[in-house]
Amino acid sequence: MWKAILKYKIRAAIWLHSVAYILFFLTLTTNNAVLLILLLPTAMISLLGGVMLWLVSVLKEAKEKELL
């Protein structure tokens, strides 16, 4: 699964970012403490995962073009 995620980095990043946006939006609408505390870290992890995958794809491309 990890290989597939790394192979399709941008697609995975898109999914992770989409999930993060939806979860962040849900945290704004919920008044339930437990739900909010569970949603917020999940959204943060999804967002960080998306940013990291995008960064990996940028670095890989730079390496392929021998910029690094």
């Binding site: 970012h17 008044n31 909010l36 917020l40 995008w54």
Partner: protein, 204 residues
């Protein structure tokens, strides 16, 4: 603010979709710029805005009251008596009413807010694991600094006859040696209606 953040979220999602379309069309330069905005800048800004809004909503009384166990404590805020500290502060607007729990139960020290959030995570763990779910107690004795933060500079507090009874009374209070909630002082934090309902049951 919520509407603004919701719109910002929609814009972010649209930006991701547009960047993906641009990538498929093979426009390398545009893709790089759009991807930078869509995958790094915009989501981080959006997350920052949402987290800030969430942190503010976590200070609200409704947030604390969303756990069933807190119901009697929330009810005690509007109890029509000036003896319990919670109701006298809440009803007379001595503390911001929207953030009453947070104002009195979060340390005013540098990392007070952070400590409150960590304790909040512990509450969720207890809630989800069902351990000691019905037991509610302070983690440590109530900190006088939370009271003194507002009361200490007040003349009414400094010149109160009871506070001047002992020579070093205020020194002891400030050092934490003597608690504001000691017996005979301000010993009723909350008036809990459950106590009354229990005694009512016995009467039946």
């Amino acid at each position: 603010m919520q509407l603004f953040l919701a719109i910002l979220g929609l814009v972010g999602l649209t930006l991701i979709a547009v960047s993906f379309i641009v990538r498929r069309q093979g426009k390398s330069r545009e893709w790089k710029l759009l991807a930078f905005l869509a995958f790094a800048v915009f989501p981080v800004l959006y997350a920052f805005g949402v987290v800030n809004e969430d942190m503010n909503s976590m200070k609200q009384v409704e947030f604390c009251g969303s756990c069933h166990i807190m119901t009697p404590y929330i009810a005690s805020l509007t109890f029509d008596d000036d003896e319990p500290l919670s109701s006298v502060h809440y009803r007379n607007n001595y503390i911001p009413q929207e953030t009453a729990c947070y104002s009195c139960h979060t340390s005013y020290a540098m990392f007070g807010g952070v400590k409150a959030k960590v304790n909040g995570l512990r509450h969720v763990w207890v809630y989800l694991t069902n351990a000691d779910k019905d037991t509610l107690a302070l983690y440590e004795p109530y900190n006088n600094d939370n009271c003194l933060h507002c009361h200490s500079p007040s003349e009414r507090f400094q010149n109160n006859k009871k506070h001047l009874k002992e020579e070093d009374f205020l020194v002891k209070v400030r050092s934490g040696e003597k608690s504001c909630l000691s017996a005979g002082c301000h010993d009723m934090g909350h008036y809990l209606e459950t106590d009354e309902s229990e005694s009512d049951e016995e009467d039946w």
